[in-house]
Symmetry: D2
Subunit: 434 residues, 4 copies
């Protein structure tokens, strides 16, 4: 078993806080692993690093502490419970010592307003910002004696990057960063720093992260596994489960309206139309992917302060069946955003650490079920995405059985195409260069 | 292309009527094939017999006519549209000439009360009833010059059969029928008659149909394909799509409440608790199959006359996620029962006719996605059931490509285990004798 | 019994069409009076002019005909039924002969785009437009031999009028109209023309109509009754019924989210944010009026083409009770906008004709229950608004009983304050000049 | 200000516990009065005894303590909050010393099974049971030095009483009690004991309580005010607010389906069909009262353990409007049963204590808004019921203003007909003897 560190960008936010409280609560026997995908069969057979063993650290641009965030969540939203926060208070204090000042470069005005710690870019250029991020990761790894540090972006949603094809090569990205004048957003700079340090990276947000082609090239060349974008936690998850039913039964969806209301910082940031754009795009794509002939597809996200960390979604599906019969389905989803997202962050960290140990580099397509806009994957049917993960796990277990001890960074698969490959991901074929 | 007849048990009921109106409306260009599963890719590539080519006939124990039923549906429920009924009126009149007096033997008091035509058993024993059913099928085939007659049961739900293991062998079933004193219900007698005449049979209801072991043996021995039980059209369909999401994400379902209200004859029959029992069992099993640890699972079906042929279902899911967080999801489904069921009846007829031509005998497991309680299949995840059908179709297309012209009744697969076999249906393995 | 004409502005629109089809269907015994408020006790005792006796005419700026609109509604939305349209086809043809070219002056770009008939302002100024409108009303009255013509505005929603206090006196309004350069919108010009001709006027939309003080003065001086604004038909109606429950029980509403989706012309016009502003204001005011301490109150109206004339609203209420317990209520309303609005248009016409005969002038406050933003009334509790109407009717019946035959235009109440006055409308007190 | 005691039957149950925790939390400044009807205008002007001043005691037949119930509620349902329970722990301990062993006589098998304290009837007849109840009330009053003790029944629902007309006179009731062989249920024996001791009594459940005519006669003769039956807290409250909208708009309700799921003791008791009957009757009557022509009206109550003290209701309304258009409305209510009921118990106690001081005897009709089946009142429209209370309060305030110091038990109104009388309760007229 290796020693794994998990470095969370947006460490004092709700998702990061809930993930850390949860991992420590599991470690202390305060809760069980319900909600952790990797805790169920067949994934539980993989011998992944336990969440109880994770060391945590992270970056943030907002004042406060993880402990304060945890208490505020308990107070306002009831998740986690106050008694659980009490039980892990010492652990959170220790983690708080490892949270560093981060960057909000190119994250838009809304996030800049929220950033009440002086972000790194206040007194340095992009190149120096990245250098500092790398330094922070190295220090974390060294001081905690870690084999692997997995970086996960759970910060607020940034505005979309214009003309992302400007960053189509590793060189273009590197030049932009070194020039000090880049408009690459923070999420991408974190990815750059992670890859440069050999750290697996996951982008749990709809921000750019490692999605530009140049960063994906860098990950492959550095032999680092990564995944993204945008964790699929509630309404989108349900869409990914339901839409295949309409497609399978050849029912024509005339309109699919989705209305999300939520009251946390994420909601406040999304009040800015620019930050909202990317989020809506990744949410909308799920339906377009599964129902190419869909008639009308709109998603609304509104900020409703009283809901705190809870998100309510109402979806209304107007569809046509046999003999032109119009019918409807509607659902209401009421969930705690953080309680739904946090275990997935831990799942992804476990699976990326595992992939890193197996020497897998580039996009980890078998993680598609975790994301709204899975990198390198066209499949949006949730059940089929789970099968991609099943296939991968089966393969890993078979490898292990074969005494495949030679699977290491040296001779492992270094092309995305090999991960979770085979019949389950035929759509991966065209993207041969990735 | 062969000439296919479709013989509907419960021919004057809503589902049968809608299926026949729909097939004729497609034939006359009055509507398209939305809602027909077999009209979409990849199934559309199979070259199945077209629904426009189907000849129809059937049995019923209620007075009236298919045309009258169609007009009543148009009037009360709006599906099909009155203009469509007008366009196919002559076709329905012709079909009405081919509807014969049926049997309601052992169907319970409720159905007996509704039977206003004198059913066959009024003046003869079970053996003679079966003989008449066979005679009716033979006449239909001969007079219409049909290659194959597919029998589909869309009659009202019967009470459950007690001690079905009494009918575990073909001999036991045959003795029961010949004795003239059997308590086998009408749906099973129709299956018996169908198999005896070499007709494929599908049971679209939760009644016993061909589910007793002795009838399954008979089908295999006679080389006849069949499928069942209980068409999956609305609430249950949605459950089969949604429940895997909770299972996949390791979310613990504490309670799943389902409340169905409907206003058609099916609803009236289900007012009798005995007739309701089988229906609730097959609806409940879907969740138990996908979520073995489910805490509380109740389904209610209530008769609400004003809804006519429309069924509204409200489902409420109370579940627990990470850090013991309790969350909820609810959905409301509002659909025309008949408009949802009718195309599936046509789909199943197409696929059974195709299987019959390929010489496949016994339970057609790859039709699992159509049924609430699919015979011989443990898999209830809707997407995975669709993959079973995909795999089967891929195999058929591959066979065809190989110029597999020798696939006929003589050397075809005659064991259920071969249909839709392979990795997609590992759960079929234990049932090797079927 | 007097002969009553009803003149509908927006005559070829859905609401007007449905109102006329409905009135004629009642006249021909094709349907009953369900949905007509004035058909129930105690209002039925008032001896109002029957809807079957109404003569119809109107203005429009869109091409087509009432008959074509009726057929399109039957086809797309199922209300009215095609057979009903057939039964009243001749009546609609006759009405179509009495529909005149109207005005869209100052109605915003969106409506201007939809106006495919050349509106009156194409070749004349505001003064001449008004003169033509008056001429049309006079012609209708004369040719049909009518005692009273009630004008009801059911045209699309206009943008809000800026600085409405500019029109605070009758003189200011008259100068603006005569100048030919006014920015008074069409709805107000129609009101001006109606009052000038002694015609009662109702504004069933959130447009300005007769709400500016100068027009209200004109109505009082001319002795004409009027009412408005914005018919309360679905979601808002439900809010007016539900919100008093929260107020009455001292439950604190933290958030009330309303999301409306609809697919008719009204929806298309509301795509323009300027036209939407007034609508949202009148919808929002209901809650503010009943729940002055409401925390968060948002209404969304979105255009969803596939819904046609049907409107679906989802409302989510987050509230706090005893011991700081947070609870929720949500509702979904699915109604045919026109089928809900049309009978109210007829109700209002009946009641305005009755008021006119009694010699009541100015705002008819007892009609508050019909409107989202009732002129001159602060009460938004639906039950209390109905009691205002009950009180008025009781008073009228008592008057009649007293052989109060002298109640005529000569000595009738000419101040708004007298209509439905007394204890039921204490909030009317401050507005003594009206 | 007088000293008021509140004696709760079912003292260790959820509602009683929440009421007492709440009153003490208000007293200690831990929460505010949200949810208390009497805390809002105009009722707040009445100078009612404050809930903070209440002394509590009660009867129960279940083991445990109020403190244990409070902790269990906090743990399982989150209401009240654990920190609030901590703050009032000493108060609850003191109350627990004043809870006495009660009776479950004629409460049905289900409640008998739940009764784990030996109820009074174990070793004595009905007459002695009643004597003990009276003794307990006298002791409470004496030891706490109270002016008035208000008895409120918040125990589990009993089966319906057969042939209640057997108890049509005070003498019949007295004979039944004295005979020692009565089948009067516990709720009525508590009412008898209360009236005999001059204590105001409220029945917050659908049990018989003081509804039999003989007990009502006794209350009038003893000069004691009382009220009931069955607190209106959630789904029924919403029905009482919504149904008048359909009636007012002359919309024909074809079907109204209500489905309640809940997980507390009340739910468990209602699993017994006999106990459920009374509950369903009082819930159903609201709609029948407001919508006499309703087509189909069904209420279901199901026990769903995981919901604990939370109740979810789904209501589906199918209605017809103009031109035979069928439309629907549905709502989902999710509330904490106890948090909704508890403040009403305190409201009723305040208002009964106030009525007692004013010398009002018999049924307090102006409390109709609190009950599903208000004694002596036919009006079910929630807003009109609130107006009955408004009228009463206005009258009281006017009395007070007139220096109406002579209003005392000697010359006060002693006939129900006088309470909240006048135009607001015309339906009270026929019941002149009450």
């Amino acid at each position: 078993m290796t020693d794994i560190g998990v470095w969370l960008v947006g460490a004092r936010g709700n998702i990061a806080t809930t993930a850390m409280v949860g991992a420590r609560a599991v470690a202390r026997g305060e809760t069980d692993e319900t909600g952790l995908v990797t805790a169920r069969e067949p994934y539980a057979d993989l011998d992944l690093p336990s969440v109880a063993s994770f060391d945590f650290g992270g970056h943030d641009v907002r004042e406060g502490s993880v402990l304060a965030s945890a208490r505020r969540l308990a107070e306002r939203s009831g998740t986690p419970d106050q008694s659980v926060v009490d039980a892990v208070t010492d652990d959170l204090r220790a983690i708080d010592d490892r949270v560093r000042r981060g960057t909000a470069l190119n994250c838009g005005e809304r996030i800049a307003e929220l950033a009440d710690v002086e972000p790194l870019e206040t007194d340095r250029g992009a190149a120096e910002v990245v250098e500092q991020l790398r330094e922070d990761l190295r220090t974390f790894r060294r001081e905690r004696g870690l084999d692997t540090v997995v970086v996960v972006n759970v910060a607020s949603t940034e505005p979309e990057v214009s003309d992302p094809e400007r960053f189509d090569t590793r060189d273009a990205v590197a030049s932009a960063v070194e020039s000090g004048e880049t408009d690459l957003p923070a999420s991408s700079l974190y990815a750059y720093a992670a890859f440069a340090e050999g750290c697996p990276y996951a982008n749990f947000t709809p921000s750019a992260g490692a999605s530009v082609e140049g960063l994906r090239e860098m990950a492959r060349e550095e032999g680092v596994p990564h995944a993204g974008d945008d964790g699929k936690t509630g309404e989108s998850l349900t869409k990914a489960a339901l839409a295949p039913m309409f497609a399978g039964r050849n029912l024509r969806v005339l309109s699919w309206e989705g209305h999300n209301i939520l009251g946390n910082t994420d909601g406040a940031v999304l009040e800015d139309e620019r930050n909202k754009a990317g989020k809506l795009a990744s949410k909308g794509d799920i339906l377009e992917g599964i129902l190419p002939d869909i008639g009308h597809n709109r998603v609304r996200i509104d900020y409703t302060p009283s809901l705190g960390d809870w998100k309510t979604a109402w979806d209304y599906v107007h569809f046509e069946g046999f003999l032109d019969t119009e019918m409807t389905m509607q659902f209401t989803w009421e969930g705690s955003d953080s309680a739904l997202a946090a275990p997935l962050v831990l799942d992804i960290a476990r699976l990326l650490a595992h992939a890193d140990e197996r020497g897998e580099a580039g996009v980890q397509r078998h993680l598609a079920s975790f994301f709204k806009a899975p990198l390198g994957v066209e499949e949006h049917d949730l059940s089929r995405q789970f099968e991609m993960l099943d296939d991968y796990v089966r393969e890993c277990l078979a490898d292990r059985k074969r005494g495949d001890a030679e699977t290491d960074r040296g001779n492992g698969a270094t092309e995305d195409g090999d991960a979770g490959g085979g019949p389950a991901t035929p759509e991966a074929a065209p993207e041969t260069t990735d």
